[in-house]
Every structure is written in structure tokens, then in C-alpha cells.
Symmetry: C2
DNA sequence: TGCTATGATGCAAGCGCTTTCAGAAAATGG
DNA sequence: CCATTTTCTGAAAGCGCTTGCATCATAGCA
């Protein structure tokens, strides 16, 4: 049961392999009846071209790599879905690679994908040092950065969310509409760009309403419900008082919610709680979470498309910033 | 800036390409100092073997494919994580492919992966018809089935959860410890094997305690919170009465929880609610969900390992059934 | 010392496909 | 009706790597 090759097809169809290749790829005109014969032969033999051979001969892998820091959190799912769809639409395949998160940033996290020679790389990991990205860019491989702005001296396009406007709006909402004055903020993982932007916006909102920034009210939620839960429990235990909480993202918000409830604090009566991302469960928790809707799946899809655009030589696309908007539910105190 | 090939390395190291290949693959003894020279040359040139060429020459792709029905639900994440880790441990790569869920089962959902010629296939989709699986098996490509038992006339190993014992235990818990008599059941998607098994166990538990099975109390929750929420709302609206609910899985349980709450039913006072899987959020909802703990990530990892075992010719492993256990929290009525 | 295992290497034949080049056949135009 | 383009097809040269076979020392063993 040897593999059916292009030769077998050519033979059966009574043509040369060049012709078979051409009907396969549509790279040159082929007479309609010849096409029919070839198609027929392919069908009969159940011919499946060998990807590796095409790659080797055609010098393109038809594969894009996705470099992720870890597969966790509700956030990753819609993202992956968007990416897969975008990639599939273009007829490419998706190679998922978990970047080993060994502490040393000096290591070569992208290596495996490098080696596998994908046509392009989607990078979703703050962990990947700028220098590494610069290196990758210089190899000429198309890259798209997810939620990480383009480092200088490169022009890898990035896909990001609009953080500032919505964050400011949601924080101001707590101040203006719910009369909160002591509003805490939970940051994301260290050096997370989104988090930095959100913190700036948070501070700006406070400042705008004459509320002094209190460093006590800022902690690292790490976009993780465990972490946020522990942190908030700790705060509560140590008498840190606040009447509003912008949790940085929805995962942290849920963790915080749990901690608050366990400590007997009511949401939203005692504390107005808001998140960011509008992940699937945001509407499902009790009370439903007021948050910022971020088009995560669309971001994945957009990233895939930007990458494919580069791969296909259709130019270097500009960075994309996807709009977000506040979604008012009940956790802030709205009816 | 042409590609650095094995030739360049060989030349710089002053050896033949065969030797380079051998130090690369360790397929034959090479003198230590030669190895050093070659390694050196590789380093200097920053040589990266081209995967496609290795595949073509070596007749193996070093890639396994994952066929998924859709990327959604909390369930998929730990599964993917387990798979990726298992695959990565073996030094292989993971190609993720979303099976188009066009209604026609007649289509060829696996085709794309087929074409890409992976060394093996992880199949996680009830949608893939048995006939298709049989066909795949007959092509000789290693396969592992996820949550779907091996069809007859094939011996593709499968990874499944132990459904019966725990389900029976959790349902009996509602009957015995919480005095529930009208216990409803939400099934998974049609033809989902886990669901079928769980339903059998559910019925067995009822029977064991002399409770008549009432078909009115069975609905399709589809392992989806939206679907479950709609269904339960509907039931409540139409006066379907129940004091216990085994939601089939945790996603459906959360949906049901929401519907119950919206309708003013208290959990667990009015309705004892339990799920299955112990997904990450199960402990986070309010009240925390009593459920059956299923090692989802371990299942992914096990599947990857079974597949790799086949790929490496280390024999055809037997199916695996992973143990589950009831996790008592508060949604059933326990303190 | 002669003879065979063994170690270390090179040569060259592919792996299955794409693509350039050139040629044959058919279509076009004046 | 001949020159010229256009359409279609085949031969053949790789793409970068693995691997079977041959080679040649060197070492082991009687």
C-alpha cells in the first residue's frame, strides 16, 4: 500500500506530472478535458498531495505558527477561535506552540517554530523579549504581535485593544454615577502593556474628578482569578478599604467577587466591581459583571489576516487598534 | 540572504552532508571532534534544518493533528493544554484544525489534516462519523479518539472518562442526602457518548431508589450554558417542577443556575444543582458547584501520549478510562 | 601476522512535488 | 495563407534533507 504520488495520477490520466501539478495549483492554463481526466484520476486513486513535498518544492509551508505563553484563562479561547478561522479561511494551517516559560528570557522560545519553518508567526506573549522580536523580524519572517505594541526598529504590525477611552469611561462611571471615591485597581501581569494603559486611564479618571491616587489601592491581579482572589482577601483582612474596584480584567474580577463575597462584602452594594474583556462568563456571574467589551475573537481573526496579508506579499499592514465599549450590567450598581 | 542549508554547514565543517545529518539526528556514530566541528559550524551559520525537507526525506512529519469540532467552552482549554504538553514533550508539533461543522456528515472533515500529512491524529469530535474513523484507521494513520469509544472493526484507542460510577454517586447523593425526588437531567449534544452513559447512570440511580423515570425531566442542555439557560427558563415558564438537577456538565449547570436565579428559584434551597467536569469556574460560581471532577488536562496529555506511542511504533495501546470523583461543594445543598 | 568486527565517513540515490524552459499545436491577424 | 501570438503540455532540474551502500582505517582476536 505505497503512497499514491503525483506520478501515479499523471500515468493514469495519461499526462505528465507537470500537468497534474498545474491542475492542482491552477498555475497555468490547462485544457478543460485534460483537467477532467486528471481530476478523475486523482479521485480514482484518492490522491492526496504530500504537504512536505509541496513545501520543499514550492518554498512555502502554508502554515502559520502561533506562539503562546500558556494555554489558560477564558481569554485564550475566543482568541484561538478567531485565529483558527482566519487562518483556515486562507487555506493555511495553524501550528500551535506553547512557549516554554523558563525564567531565562535569554533562551530561544521561538526556536521550535523557527525550525518548523512556518510562513509567519503570531506572537502572543509578553514574555518574548523585544530583542527576540527584533531578531525574528530581521530574519524576514512575517510576524504579527498580539496585545503588544510594535517595538521600535521593527515594523511588525500589532493588534491591540483600545484601552484608554473605555477604561476611563468605566472608572468615571463608578465615580459619577455611583458616587465611589475609593476605587482600587488590579493590574495585569508585570509589563503587560494593556495593563499599563489601563492603569494610566484609571489614574486619569481619578485625577479628572479630583480624587487623589492612592498606591495602596493598586495591586497585581495578574489577570487571574486565583491571584485576584488571594489579593483581595488579603486586602480585606488587612483593612484596606475601598468602595469601587476596577479589576483589570474579567478573570480577576471574578476572583475578586468571590473574595468579597466570602468576606461578607456585597457587590454592588458595598463595592462597585467592574472588569475588562467581557469574557463569556461575565454575563453569567452573579451579579452580572459590568465590564468593557473587547472583541477578542475578532482580534484573533484580524491578527491572522494581517499575517496572511504579509505572507502573501500584499504589503506590510499598519497596526490595528480594535474599539472597545463599556457594557453596563449590575456589578457596578446599575439596576 | 539565501537560506543556510546543510551543505553550507558541511562545507564549513569540512565534512560531508551525511555527517552533518548524522550529528543532527544521532543516527550513526560520529567522532567526537567531528561532532564538535559540525556543531560549531551550525552555530556560526545559525543553521536551522528545513522541516519540510526532513519530512520528505525522512518520511515522517513530526507533527500530530488535532481535529476539533469547535473551539469553545471552558472544557477545551485544559484539554488543549494537556495535549500541547504531551506533544511537546515528545518533540513534536501540534497542528490544530477546526473541523468544519457543515451539517453533511458525508463531507470529508478530516481531509485538510490528511493532506497535511501528520504522523497521527487526535480526534475530538463526535461529529466525525464512525465510517470516517474507520476509513482513517484503514489508511494506517495512528489515531486516538477523545471521549468517543472505539468503533468496532478498528482498534483506535480512545481516552474516556469514567462516567457511570460518579454520575450514579452524585445523583444518589441528591436522593439520599438531600431528599430530592424529582431530579432532572440535561443531556449533552446528540449522540455524545459521555452523555449517553451519564443518562444511563442517572436512570440507574433513580431506579435504585424506586423513583420512576419521568421523560419530562430530561432535556438537551448540549453542554452549553446558553442552551441550558434557555431550556431551564422554558421549563420554569411551563411549570415543569423539579427539586434536583444534574446538568450533564458544568457549562450547562451554570446556564441552569442563571435561569433558576432569574426565575427566583434558590440554589440549593429550592433546587439541588450538580454538574460534571469540575471546570475551572465550577468553584467560582455562587454557590460553588458540586460536580464530578474529571481530569481534563490529564486526558489531553494521555491522548497525546497514546498517539505518540503508536507513531513511534511502540505498539497499539489499549483504550484508557480516566477515573473521576464527586466533588462536594454547596450547590447540592451541602454546607 | 592475517582476518574479521567495528567505527567513522563519503557518495549518490532518492523523497514527491513545483517551476523554468522550450516546443508543439491551435488561434489570430493582415 | 503565412507570420505571429497564445494556449497547452512535457522534460528536466532542482528544493534540502535522510539513508543504504561502499570505503577505509583501526582494532580485536586467534
Amino acid at each position: 500500500m505505497a503512497r499514491v504520488t503525483i506520478n501515479d495520477v499523471a500515468q493514469l490520466a495519461g499526462v505528465s506530472i507537470s500537468t497534474v501539478s498545474r491542475v492542482l495549483n491552477g498555475t497555468a492554463p490547462v485544457a478543460v478535458e485534460t483537467v477532467a481526466q486528471v481530476r478523475d484520476a486523482m479521485e480514482k486513486l484518492n490522491y492526496k498531495p504530500l504537504a512536505a513535498a509541496r513545501t520543499l518544492a514550492g518554498r512555502r509551508t502554508n502554515t502559520v505558527g502561533l506562539l503562546v505563553p500558556e494555554i489558560t484563562g477564558e481569554f485564550f479561547m475566543p482568541l484561538l477561535r478567531g485565529i483558527e478561522e482566519g487562518v483556515q479561511e486562507a487555506g493555511l494551517d495553524l501550528l500551535v506552540h506553547l512557549a516554554s516559560q523558563n525564567g531565562d528570557a535569554g533562551a530561544n522560545p521561538a526556536l521550535p517554530l523557527d525550525e518548523h519553518n512556518t510562513d509567519g508567526l503570531l506572537v502572543f506573549t509578553g514574555r518574548l523579549a523585544d530583542s527576540e522580536i527584533v531578531r525574528l523580524c530581521h530574519t524576514g519572517i512575517p510576524i504579527v504581535l498580539l496585545f503588544q505594541s510594535t517595538p521600535s526598529y521593527t515594523q511588525a504590525p500589532s493588534v491591540m485593544f483600545e484601552n484608554t477611552v473605555s477604561t476611563q469611561e468605566i472608572v468615571e462611571h463608578l465615580i459619577v454615577d455611583h458616587g465611589r471615591r475609593r476605587i482600587a485597581f488590579l493590574s495585569g501581569p508585570p509589563q503587560n502593556e494593556d495593563s499599563t494603559l489601563r492603569e494610566h486611564a484609571y489614574r486619569a479618571a481619578l485625577a479628572k474628578h479630583g480624587i487623589a491616587f492612592d498606591p495602596v489601592l493598586v495591586g497585581e491581579g495578574g489577570y487571574s482569578h486565583e491571584r485576584a482572589q488571594i489579593l483581595i482577601s488579603d486586602w480585606l483582612l488587612h483593612g484596606v478599604e475601598f468602595d469601587g474596584l476596577f479589576a483589570g480584567d474579567d478573570s480577576a474580577a471574578v476572583g475578586a467577587l468571590l473574595a468579597l463575597r466570602r468576606a461578607g462584602r456585597r457587590v454592588p452594594e458595598d463595592v462597585s466591581l467592574v472588569g475588562f474583556d467581557d469574557l463569556p462568563f461575565a454575563a453569567l456571574v452573579d451579579p452580572p459583571l459590568t465590564t468593557v467589551g473587547a472583541p477578542v475573537e475578532a482580534a484573533g481573526r484580524a491578527a491572522a489576516q494581517l499575517l496572511i496579508q504579509q505572507i502573501q506579499g500584499r504589503g506590510m499592514p499598519p497596526p490595528i487598534e480594535l474599539p472597545t465599549h463599556v457594557i453596563y450590567r449590575q456589578s457596578c450598581g446599575c439596576a
